[in-house]
Each structure stands twice: as C-alpha cells, then as structure tokens.
Symmetry: C3
Subunit: 475 residues, 3 copies
C-alpha cells in the first residue's frame, strides 16, 4: 500500500490532454517534482515540531476538525458544525465521536468532486497514508482504522513527515507579541528541520479587533517595553522584529480588509493610539491606523530587511452566528472588491522606489490581476505579486493567474508558490498541484512557440523553487 | 428534411477538439442528451398552452418580433425597430410585412456568427423546422415559406411541440397580482403538460415602477384583500403565494438593480408604503423597500417553502428613446457592477443559516463569481448559485462559470440550468448547449485526472437534470 | 540572414497545438498574413516620414530609450531609468553609452520571457533586422553591431520600412493645437505613403493638465481664433478639426481617467472655462468639463463625420518621483476600475441612437468587457469596441477579448486591430500576433462546429483588415 494507486492518482494529472503539450509538461514536471519544498508562508503550528513526541491525534482531528476548507463545504449543505466536532467558544459540547464525524464526511465526499480540497485530500490519502480506495460511505470505517494505525507509527510523527516531505524550509505565522518559545525549542533541539517564524502584527495594529488590549499587554511583556504610547509601541514592534529575526524570520505578514494606506503625522498617530488605549477609538481611527502602520511597516522593513507581505480583501467572520458560537476561521470569511491603484499610492509615493524593500501583494479579487496588480508590480521596484491565494489556490485559479498576470508583470515580479495552510499533511499535494500547473502552463507556451525549451526549463525551476527562495530571502 | 443536416449541425459540436476529451464528452453527452427537459425558470406565455388551438403565428412573429436577443443586434447595426415590426407603445404603425422583416433579418444573419443567438437559431431551424440550408439573403423567402407551412401543421401547435420537446416541467414567470387564469385553464384541460407558475412580486414591490398604483389595485382584486397598508399588503402577498402554490408554483422570483438588503421596522415599512400610496415615495424609500422586501420574502419562503430566486444587476431601459417608443424588454437593459458581500449581509444575518430555505442567486457581473458568489454559496446553507444568466447564457459564459464557480462552491451549491426564455422553440437548443458544455467541462476533468468516470457520470446527470429538479423542489 | 530562423520563430507560433485546430488556423492565417496593414490608431512620429533623410538613430535609441514597455520592466527589477539613458526633464545627464545600455538590456532579456514585448522584439529582430540568434549577454555587442549596420542602410530609413511593411494607411495622434507641418510636408512630398493625422484635444480639454494655458495659446495660433471664451474655444476646435480633415484625418481621440460624461449648459461651460483661464478651475470643474466636452465632441462628430475614439481608465503618472524627473509616458501609468454603464449614459441619451456617428470605446478594465461594453455596443448604434488595449494587447489579452466580448456584441460591433504604438519597427509583429490570434480563435470555432469554413474566412478577413478600414472610414 505504499505505491500510489494509478486508479486514484493519474501520473499525468492536471496536464493538458493534447499529446504534444502533455509530453513537454511531463518533461518539465519531472525536473521539478522532486525538488525540496520551500514553504515561505503558512499556518502550520510550531508546537508540532518543538516537542519530539508530538502527534497529530485522530484522523478526524488531523483532517476535518481544524480544516475550514472541509467543513465550510459540509456546512453549506446543511451539516452543522456541531455535528462535525468543531469546538465552541464557550466550551459547550459538540460531537466527540471521531468515527461518526469521519463517516459523515465520507458520506458527503461527493461534494468535493472537482474541488481543490478533493484533489488535495485524494493525493494526501494515497501518497501520505497509502490509502488505495476512493473514500466512500462503505469503506469509511476501514479507511479510518487504516489512517489511525499509520498516525500511531513513528514515521507519522510531525518531524518524521517533515523530513519525508523533503521540506527545505517552512515559515509559520506568529503574532507580533509572541515569545516564540516553540521556535526557540526547535532551535535548541537536535532536530535539523528549518522552521522560521513570520512577524504578524495584525492583533496589535487593528485597534478594534477582539482582544486588542490583551494583545498590547502581551506585546509589552514579550518585548520588555511598556506600551503606553504610540512611540513606545513602535519601539516594542522593532524590538520584537529583532527577536523574530534572531529566530530566523525573514518576513512579516499583514492582513487588511482593503489596501488603504496613508501617512499620519506622529501626533495624529499618537492621538489615535491613546484613544485606543482608552477604548475610545472609532472605526475611522482604526482604518487610518491600519493604513498608516502599513506604510510604517514598510519603512521598518527598509531598515531591518524583513520582506513584507500584504493579504488584502477578506471580510472576516461574515456570519455572526457562526463567529459568536465558534470563533474566527470557521469558513465564513467572504472576499469583496478591492482597489489597489488608489489605495496603495500613499505608501508607494513614500517608499515605492526603494530597491532594498520587497512588498508582496496577495488578492482575493482577481479582477485586479490584469488591471492593477500586474501593472503595479511591473513598474514599482518594491512590488511583487504573491501566488493565487485561498479560494484561488486551485488548478483553475492558477491558470487564471498565469493568464492574467504574467504577460504584464513577468515571471520575476512574482514569488513562486505559498501553500498558506495549517493542514500540514496536505503540503506536498499543494506544491505538487502548483508544480504541475506551472509545468503545464509553460509547456503550453513551448508548443505554441512562445518560449523555447531552454527558457522553459529556467521558468519551471523559477516557479517551483527559486523565486520563493529569492523573494523571501531564504537563500 | 427531418434528419439534422450534418453540414449545418456537427454532431460533436461544442466539444473540445482533442480526441481524448471529445470521446469522453460524447460519451457523457449521450447519457444526458435524451433526458427530459426540466425548465424551472423562464418567460414562456401560459396562454400558448391554455387554449388547445393556440398557434405561434408567422415565422417572423415567432422568431423575430418578440426576441430582443435578435433585434438588439440588428438595432446595434443601425436597423430601426420600426423596420423590424416591433410594436410601439402608442400604437403608431411599424412594419407589418413579415416577409420583408424576415428578409431583412436573413440579409444580416452574418451578424450572429459565433453568437449564442446564431447557435440557437441554427439548431432550431434544423431540428425543429427541418430547414436544411444556412439562412441567407438568397433562400430567405423559401425558408420563410417552409417554416410558415410547418407552423400551420397540428404538429407545430404549442402543446404538440411541448410534448415533442420532452419537457417534464416548465415554469412560467407571473406577476404577483395575477389570477393565473391560463394556469387554471391548463390544469382544467385534459392535456397533461406540467406547466407551473412562479410568483414574481417586482411590480408591486418596486414602488416607483411605472404602473405601481394599478398593480396594487390588481393585487387587491386578485387576492381579495384591499391593500391599503403595508400590513395588508403582506397579507395579500401571502394570500397570492398560496394561490400560486395551489396551481403548482414552487418558487418566487425577484429582480433588483443591486443586491441591497435591509430590515426595516414595521413602522418604517408602513410609513414608506403610505408615502407610495400617496405617490410621495422617494428613490431612497423605493430602494429601502425593495431591500426590506427581499428579507421579508425570504422569511415568507421559510414559512411556505417557496424557493426564492434573486436576479441582480440589470439597469433596465437604459435607452430612454427606445423605452418611450417601444416599452420595456427591447434589448436596452445594460448590466452594471454589483456587490453581494456587503449587500446581502443583512438578509444573511437574519436568515442565512436556515436549512429549510433556498435562495438562488443570479448575476450579470461575472467578476463576482469567484470573488463573492462562490464563497458565499460555499458557506451559507440557504444560498445556491443559478446558472449563467442572459448575456452569459452562452458557450463561453458557461465555460467561465464552470471555471470560476465550481472549485470553490462545488456542484451541489449550483442548480443546473435555466433557459430563462420566452422563445419557446429555442428551449431544446438552449438545454442542448448546456448539456454539451457540461459534458465537455466534465470530460476535461476526466482526461486531466481530476475526477474519475464514475464521478463524471454522476456530475453529468446532476447538471443536466437532477440539480434543477431538487433545487426547485420539482420532485 | 534574411530568412527568419525557424529556431527563433516557429511558423505555427501562437496557434493551438491540437492538430485539427492548428490546421484550420494555419489555413486562415495564410489568407490574412500578407494583407496590407491598416493602422488606424497609434503614436508613430510623423517627422520620421516628412524628411526623406530621417533615420532611426542607434539600436538603443530606436528600441529601448523611447519604449516604456521595455524600460518599465527593467525598472521594476531595480534598474534605474538613468542607467537606461531615459532623458530627464531638467536635462540632467543620464547614461549616454548606447552600447552599455544595450548590454544591460540584453543581460536582462530573460525578464521578457512570455511577455508581448518579448514576442514583438523577437519577431522584430528576426524579421526586420535579420538577427538569427536569441539575444543574450554574450552576443549583445555583436547584435548591436549588426543592427547598427542595418540602420545605416537606405533600406532601413523610415519611408523604406513603411513600404516594406506593406502599410496601406497609418494614422498618427496629434494634439488639437498642432499645425500638422509634418503631415503637410508628407503630402507635399513625392512619397506616396498614406499617413493621416488624428485629432486629439486632451491637452486643451483637460483644464488642470500641466501646460494647459500654453496649449490654449497654441490653439489660438494654430486656428487663427483667439481663444478667450468657451464659445470661441469651440470655434477653434471646429476650425482645427477641419484642418485635420483637410490633411486626411478621419478620427478624433480622447483619453480620460473615467468614462464620466455630462451635459453642461452653455453658461456653466463658459463659467468653468473662464475660471480655467484665470487658473482658478477646481478638480470638479475639470471633471465636469471633460465629461461635457466628450458629449460636445460627439456632437461635432455628427456634424463633420470624424470617428470618435475614447480611451478610458489610466491613472497617468502614478509615480510622482519618476514623473518629476522624467516626465510622462515613463511606464508608470496604472489602470483602475471603470464604470461605463452609468457614466456614458448622459452622452448616450443625447446622441446614442444616431446612425451617422461612430464612438469606439477602449478599456483597461477587462471586467467591463462582458458586463458592460459588449451589451452597450451590442445595442447602441453609435458604439463599437476597440481591440484589446495596452497591457491587454497580448496573446492572452486577445483571447480574453474574443471570449468575453464577441458572443454578446458580435464581430461587427468591433473594429479589428489597433497597434497603438510609437515603436514603428514593431508594427508588423503586432499585427501578426493579432492575425494569428484571430485565425486561431476562429479555427477553434470551426473545429467545434460553431461556425463553418465559409463564415470563418469572412470573419478572418474582417478581423485582419476590413473592420478597421470600415470603422475608421478609411475606405
């Protein structure tokens, strides 16, 4: 059961069916398939790796309960999150029978036909867990038993899988106020896996976010700087950036509903920050402060060399009922329209021409790809485009990205792939989809005489491996 | 002349030309091609079926004069609607020589190359009317004579064609204030065709629409409830919904310029309604009332089980000159940008988590497909996505829909096909385009190893037949 | 070295790799490949043709320094415009060693892989300059030497290349206040090349543009009408339009950030114009005036028969630092979202139903293609859609255009191709990309049974040659 079943996993999957293109795609893919994985942005938990004995729990705990890609689809068809064992905020009970939850999932596996989640899970079951049948109502319990047994083996502990997956480097995402104990523990251990933190200040920058006051206290504690003003807020951030760098960080990450940027005077910023400390900040204050801190963060990055990432366009917790009962990241974040051209201009006017800053942009609004993002990144030295994000991290999403972005911005203003996942065992499958999609896209250009094979090989290695390393300064 | 001419109608039309994909597409299509037609939303006139002797009139009356898809294209090239016999609002004369109009149409048939109208008409002429030549200036009169003769035959009466088309069920769209006499007459007849009404309250909900006062009077008369207040307006609507249900309705239909929803207090709603009765309602009143009534209609649907449809984004009667002379639905409705994420939130916060409500969304703004609609329908239990609508009901429109919608929302959050037409003889051609496009899309996934043949067969039947029946509660 | 190298230039390039489609595409392309070039809109300098001895300068002067497509990509990767020899506004020195600039370009030629600039340059080097190797760091100086030698030959003077390129007619773009001396000189010469001016009033219509006062003075001088009021501003424009027509103009061109149109009263327009003369016009004044002048220009076109073009959606000089140092057109114009449906309505209500006016629309916001532009042009007699513009003038941009525009608007509401370039030697390559992309698109419809070969040939000639001539009244 260790060889992938050809019935479940076509070795030429995702390639164009035209024989000429498929031949070139396969040839290119063979050159990138076995390259180490560079995972510069994601949400894997560092604690899985700091403790050598850590384990992933039951199949349901690993594959269903934490994966909002999975349970949002089930929820959309009327299956409540209670029945899927998703934990509640107030601790009120939800389903605890993991085999029952697994059965419910298997009964509805048909919902994932043709979806990226379906594709990742299929590959994961076959290649990671050596399952050799398509999941169904009938074999659900047997497959559960099989995976459960695998997860109990030493070879399926997090560190063992990290090594088996051939991950060269994996970056986690960590709050700005983190002490990074788990990262420290990994460094202190005798295990050689390269896991790096990423500095994410959203929890202290978004003034109206639930728990902001507590986040600021934690920032004071972590940094050793008592955050009582905007001025020492900045010092605390800079202090923590140094701490992150010392533990291997090469990047920061910023999320916002819009791409609004602005530049406040020091006194305006201080006044807003003081109102926030008094819990009197308005929506307008919060919006201005986020926009200001993006520009400020870019300036800090010019100083300390951390690559900056900006993820824009998700309206978080769109469904209040789900948010109140289950908390954030429960499949109810919904994208909306985003302007970049006007919104980013204040930041770009301030720092856009620096050659020692990298700002990587991510969008959930694909209509900005060809219209705004490709022209922006195709001009400003600081800008690069991140790969297709979230809902667009899919076979078609990648094809649209290549189609709409590359002609204008060029390959070298992009940054390869991000898996951006907390679903650790899906990482090889996600990178495999990207490498196949890349190879196929380039093959399409070869057979249509747009690039020659020599260039094709270079582009293929760039997309699969080199661009991510370079852009994130991981080399 | 009863066999389709292979020169005019390629049996493998619309399938990818790659031999492997074409083979699978053909195989899938053969499994769905002969399935009965389920037509859950459209604008066919019930009077064609209530009178056993009803006929379609001349070829020009059937195929040109009522079809705004046809005459808008001719108009765009400078052919006035007068010359095409489109009736005027004030009864001033337009062209009455149907052969002359037909000739004008045939002289410009080249305008429809590569358009869905061209594709539907070609298939309709070949398969319904057994025309075996491409329409041209030269054969226009002969073809007219031929179709005219067919239309005089018993086999070409509406009921006969309904049976020949193998229509399992066809839903019309009827104003909320209708008495549904024609539907009653169909039920009372000995003819077995399943024709169901759909409840469309736009004419009484849009307070500033031309004729609103008259529509309210008609609602009072039809419902037997004197509509003098918002409170008994709601009663009258509920009364009529019951009447529609009694005659087979399973759905309602709502159109709006935007997806704006809101919830007014009863007193606010009443105040606006009273202003409307006094002809003093403002644009803001009208907008708020439409948004409120969408939420209210969703609540009514939870009560009575009618599936709710929402068609958003058309600016009706964009060209005042045409509207004033010829009235609505004359090819001058122009779509605009629409936000769903923010606009639908008030309604979704109220009823979005119900599992006994279905709200089907239609858009003319495809940029919302991947960004907003697929994530929304991929999360909220009440939401499903309607098929490509109007300008997007086309081969490329379908391909874009499959591409942009399916990965995120999944097949089961969609509802199969709607022909949405008043052009009755085009119905088989429209469903055929969809079934071919579906089969081809699925075949593309089969040959690229994304779904296996077993799943492909299920998906193909879902798209061609089952999803429409289930979503519209027609089973 | 005069035959294109098959290694560099695949004779079947840009065609689908499926053998059936490729065969039809090649057949169609062969029918259009050798047709004369009709170039109805572009930015080639007339002075290259008025002086029989004019030359293009060095390879770097011809191919790099003036081409913002080229240097924006290099700039995005951190290569300053100074190093590329782009001249500064204040005359401060930049790199003058053309061989050094060429080397820098060649060292970074990999940035253009898969981009339209890469495709045009490759074809240009092979077909115009008979270069038979791929440009690289190693051969950069040899290729420079080779091109330099060619440019010194009589056969590479502008007029000679014009003839060799088989250009039937080429339209330049000229400010409304131009005296058109170069066009006059071309007419007066014994050379037969058909070069026509296009009337572009942006510099006098955009009240806040740098240099507006000077532009008005030049308009007074050129027209012989002292522009001291809105009233005689209109007269001066009409006078100049006549002058342009006398020298062969058949069209006007208008650029705007948005598609906003409006109709001011004569007194409002006069008041704004007077404020502008006093340098007191506000942003709102400027916006209203531009919107008003679009409507006014349409009315003038009804009078004098000039075809009107509207290019919408570019935020010019987004990067102030570059604009201040190097001036406009330096690769930092960034598109933004544009509404057409509401914005154009005032103009369309005024003149939209005229059959003797043609208004050609261009967009940088492709999300409007299927949603707004195709329905608008598929209804209003005055409207036609221009080809993919600027960032979208690319192989994928063309495919998206055909996909999203044609089904709704139909071929005959489009206008063939515009090369829109100042890079004269790239003109054949640009038209070749279009002709190949067109042939391939039509071939795709042939092999899928959507159009027959007879229609395909007509459509192919329309796109390659006939539509441009007809729409721009060049026949």
């Amino acid at each position: 059961m260790t060889q992938p079943s050809p019935n479940l996993l076509n070795p030429d999957r995702y390639f164009d069916t035209d024989p000429a293109q498929r031949r070139v795609a396969r040839e290119l893919y063979e050159a990138s398939a076995k390259l180490p994985i560079v995972s510069p942005h994601g949400h894997v938990l560092p604690e899985w790796f700091s403790d050598p004995g850590a384990s992933f729990g039951s199949p349901t705990e690993l594959l269903i309960i934490p994966d909002h890609y999975v349970f949002r689809m089930l929820y959309s068809q009327g299956i409540t999150l209670d029945r899927l064992g998703v934990p509640t905020r107030d601790g009120s009970p939800t389903e605890t029978d993991h085999r029952k939850i697994w059965q419910l999932f298997a009964d509805h596996f048909y919902l994932f036909r043709g979806t990226p989640t379906g594709m990742w899970l299929t590959q994961e079951l076959v290649e990671v867990f050596a399952v050799d049948e398509k999941l169904s109502s009938h074999n659900a319990q047997d497959i559960y038993t099989h995976i459960e047994a695998r997860l109990a083996e030493a070879a399926f502990k997090p560190r063992a899988l990290f090594d088996r997956f051939n991950i060269e480097v994996l970056c986690t995402t960590d709050p700005a106020n983190s002490r990074l104990e788990h990262h420290q523990a990994i460094r202190d251990s005798d295990w050689g896996g390269a896991i790096r933190p990423t500095f994410r200040p959203d929890g202290v920058v978004h003034l109206l976010v639930k728990g902001w006051q507590a986040n600021i206290i934690a920032l004071s504690e972590a940094s050793g700087i008592n955050v009582t003003s905007y001025a020492n807020f900045l010092h605390a951030l800079m202090q923590q950036r140094e701490h992150f760098k010392a533990l291997g960080a090469t990047a920061t990450d910023h999320a916002a509903e819009t791409a609004h940027t602005t530049i406040l005077s020091e006194s305006e910023a201080e006044a807003i920050f003081q109102r926030a400390l008094r819990q009197e900040a308005s929506e307008a204050d919060a919006r201005a402060f986020v926009g200001h801190m993006l520009t400020k963060s870019a300036e800090m990055s010019i100083e300390d060399g951390l690559v900056m990432q900006l993820h824009v366009g998700s309206i978080r917790n769109h469904n209040s009922l789900i948010f109140q009962r289950f908390g954030p990241d429960k499949g109810c974040d919904i994208p909306h329209r985003v302007d970049f051209t006007h919104s980013l201009r204040p930041l770009l006017e301030r720092v856009g021409n620096h050659t020692d800053l990298t700002l990587i942009l991510f969008t959930l609004d694909e209509s900005a790809y060809a219209r705004e993002l490709a022209p922006l990144a195709g001009h400003y030295p600081i800008l690069k485009l991140g790969p297709p994000w979230w809902f667009h991290d899919s076979l078609n999403g990648m094809a649209r990205y290549f189609d709409q972005v590359m002609e204008t911005t060029g390959l070298h203003n992009t940054v390869g792939f991000n898996d951006d996942t907390r679903a650790f065992p899906s990482i090889p499958a996600r990178h495999d989809v990207w490498r196949r999609a890349s190879a196929n896209w380039i093959a399409g250009m070869v057979v249509r005489g747009i690039v020659d094979l020599e260039d094709a090989y270079e582009m293929n290695l760039d997309l699969a491996y080199r661009l991510a390393k370079t852009a994130y300064r991981l080399d």
